[in-house]
Assembly symmetry: C2
Homo-oligomer: 170 residues x 2
């Protein structure tokens, strides 16, 4: 795969961005940026006995109200036991409501309560503020490239989930 010093940067500028060094910088950028990306919500959550797992659940329930447990499981990529622990606390704390399905009574449909929506807003506001600043600083073309690369980096199933959510949005 990688054989040390390859791509001596003389194959034309269009290939320069594929050197091992460039790829390594890309990895490190992902690492450091993801830290920043989660830092603000994490600070809020720390005061609430909640963690990042709760944030993710709240985010995607708010994003797709009425989603089933199974659907959420696929999006989050965790086991049902793991998700269940989180959901249990959110439901008993009154942030999430679970309703038995009308057609298929085996399913549970998940919704945010008023309180849940409030926390979701608070968390995503914090996260959006950082993202907005970064987007503004980088400019529209950079943002377009950013999204293109991220999408290309996803696993195919994740890309499908992402596209489904994205297209349901506007």
């Amino acid at each position: 795969m990688s054989d040390g010093r390859q791509n001596p940067a003389v194959r034309g500028d269009t290939l320069l961005f594929l050197t091992d060094e460039q790829l390594r910088q890309g990895s490190e950028a992902m690492f450091f940026a993801y830290r920043g990306f989660t830092a603000d919500p994490d600070r809020i959550l720390a005061d609430l006995t909640y963690g990042r797992a709760h944030h993710r659940a709240i985010h995607f329930i708010g994003r797709a109200p009425g989603t089933t447990v199974n659907n959420l499981l696929n999006i989050l990529g965790v086991t049902k036991q793991s998700l269940n622990r989180v959901l249990r606390t959110l439901i008993s704390d009154g942030l999430v409501q679970s309703k038995v399905g009308r057609n298929d009574k085996r399913e549970r449909h998940l919704h945010l309560t008023e309180e849940g929506r409030a926390l979701e807003q608070k968390l995503s506001d914090a996260q959006r503020a950082r993202l907005r600043a970064a987007f503004r600083e980088a400019g529209p073309e950079a943002v377009a490239g950013f999204r293109t690369v991220l999408e290309a980096m996803m696993d195919p199933e994740m890309r499908a989930s992402y596209a489904r959510l994205r297209d349901s949005g506007t």
Copy 2:
């Protein structure tokens, strides 16, 4: 901060990328992409009793041989106790070597052994393969934008660490 439906997308195309909807898509792209980003190394590590923390340590030690524990601490952003546990196993497994500092004997300088370098290669090859495919698919301009946005998203101290590593590279 965010007041529901703002930016009716009529302020000119240059501001369209700052709507709440666009920012939310950006968040979700980060989430799904990061999953893809770590998936391949995680699979390798799962067979080795190691986790992502070991990967990070090995990566940055390989990146800056002779670095001290404290320096690594700042880069990784965890507590020294947490890092120490990881380092202990890596050292006793013979992947990392810890040398008492010459000038300051309080410090430990960290290096990868041959075996450690081999694992580092294996892990970063897997990660680079995914990144390379994504970069190739997205094209050079997109990659430039990707890096610009990620850098803007970092905390200032992380941005400094990132820049230091980047510039020491080539």
